[in-house]
């Protein structure tokens, strides 16, 4: 089973990004999305997540046993684009609220998550007061907390220091091992080497191929 782009075209106003793109991406894998500046990496990821819709063509997803399309968690490249609340704890809780989590369970998950990213003492503070790295960790936690089937991460380590980068890789490795599909937009060769497949975008065309050494 795979995610399939079938004859997909997409343009921003008159600027075409993809024209009649056909692409097959293996299901529930750890996939890097790479390409030079402005080639459409984030656009491709937003099309997969359903944030953008194709101008023509369609994207097919493997359906689960109960015939539902998978949930996607999307981490924006700029963590400030992610925030919708004035308080850090409400930001973390946002996705859980949308999924109608029971209040006791939500409170516990939010408390634990804040502790994991070192923001327990600042739960009543605004996300806008955080440093760049803290913002990215908050946005990432807010994306992961609802346990989506797929995580789409747009350069998730760009604001992180070396310790936080290592922590991120550990978390994503564990999530992937538990069956979560990962799309990781990156321009970093070391991060690319962690993945099983790579989608490379060149001149409006995208190809998906297995990474060397992966099974």
């Amino acid at each position: 089973m795979s995610i399939r782009f079938i004859d997909v075209s997409f343009a921003y106003k008159e600027k075409p990004v993809f024209s009649h793109l056909n692409l097959e991406i293996p299901e529930s894998n750890w996939v890097a999305i790479t390409g030079n500046c402005g080639t459409g990496k984030s656009t491709l990821a937003k099309l997969i997540a359903g944030i953008l819709e194709p101008d023509s063509g369609r994207i097919e997803f493997p359906k689960s046993s109960n015939d539902e399309i998978p949930d996607f968690g999307y981490l924006f490249q700029n963590p400030e684009d992610q925030f919708v609340h004035f308080f850090i704890e409400r930001e973390i809780a946002f996705n859980l609220e949308n999924q109608n989590y029971p209040i006791e369970m939500m409170t516990l998950k939010v408390r634990n998550s804040l502790g994991e990213i070192g923001l327990s003492d600042r739960r009543k503070d605004s996300p806008n007061r955080l440093s760049g790295g803290e913002k990215q960790r908050l946005a990432l936690m807010g994306t992961m907390i609802s346990e989506p089937n797929y995580l789409i991460l747009d350069e998730p380590s760009s604001y992180l220091d070396i310790l936080a980068q290592n922590d991120l890789i550990k978390r994503i490795t564990a999530l992937h091992a538990s069956g979560v599909g990962i799309f990781w937009i990156t321009q970093n060769e070391q991060e690319k080497a962690l993945t099983k497949f790579c989608i490379e975008i060149v001149d409006g065309n995208a190809k998906c191929f297995p990474m060397k050494g992966s099974c």
Partner: protein, 259 residues
């Protein structure tokens, strides 16, 4: 593009002076930024390094005058050898580059900044040329809105705007975010060239970038500058300081081995 006649004639230099500086954050009792006493000439590029939340950006913003301390002072001024009636022009490029947009489209932002800087008659041309050095075609992005640029294009545009303003002191806050390998190489070359005639401070969690660009290093931890000195002093002394050395040990030794 980077030469400035004032510099060639006057050989000016920038100094940063901090005294009894304390900066606290609302709703955050566990952290404050503190610099008791510091005088530093910016004769060569300074690299400010630290982990997440160590106070790097706050310090950069205070040097630029964009953030006021609760007590004490910090300022960037001309050095004692420089006689000038004008204050030095300081440009701080934030780590979130979308903040530099004044108009909604690229061309509007360039035109507005050009109007605000009448002393730079070739501002628009300089922006185009700088973007070209970053492999971005100005004509291709000029009509786009800020949100229509990719992260890499946005970063390159912000860097080009900041450098084209010809500041006496340029402060780059996490300038590699959104840049790939090619972009990082271009940034190192362009900022390196700029720093030959202008003062430069680079704030980054990317230690290899700082090693490539800087001669002087400030290491920050929990709101304090725990080390300042050149690379050889850092190599010989920094690791001796157990309180901070252990936390940075792996990254520092990796870079030292490569250099």
């Amino acid at each position: 593009m980077f030469s400035d006649e004032r510099f060639l004639l006057m050989c000016p230099s920038i100094q940063i002076i901090a005294k009894n500086l304390v900066c606290r954050y609302e709703n955050n009792d566990s952290f404050h930024l503190e610099i008791p006493d510091l005088t530093q000439m910016v004769d060569s590029p300074i690299g400010i390094y630290g982990l997440i939340g160590s106070g790097k950006s706050s310090l950069g913003q205070m040097i630029a005058g964009l953030l006021q301390p609760n007590s004490g002072e910090i300022r960037a001024s001309w050095g004692p050898e420089t006689k000038s009636l004008e204050s030095p022009k300081i440009v701080y490029l934030p780590q979130f580059p979308g903040k530099i947009f004044l108009g909604s489209r690229v061309v509007e932002t360039v035109d507005l900044i050009a109007q605000m800087n009448p002393s730079i008659p070739n501002f628009s041309t300089d922006v185009r040329n700088l973007l070209s050095l970053f492999s971005v075609d100005y004509a291709a992005i000029s009509e786009r809105n800020g949100y229509e640029l990719s992260g890499g294009e946005l970063r390159r545009f912000a860097l080009s705007l900041g450098i084209a303003r010809q500041p006496d002191l340029l402060i780059l806050d996490e300038p590699t975010i959104g840049l790939g390998k090619i972009g990082r190489t271009q940034l190192t070359e362009i900022a390196g060239e700029f720093s030959k005639n202008h003062a430069l401070i680079v704030i980054s969690h990317d230690f290899s970038l700082l090693v490539a660009l800087s001669k002087e290093f400030w290491i920050m931890e929990q709101g304090k500058i725990v080390f300042h000195g050149n690379f050889s002093e850092l190599a010989s002394n920094f690791l001796q300081r157990e309180t901070v050395g252990l936390r940075f040990f792996k990254e520092f030794t990796a870079v030292s081995t490569l250099s």
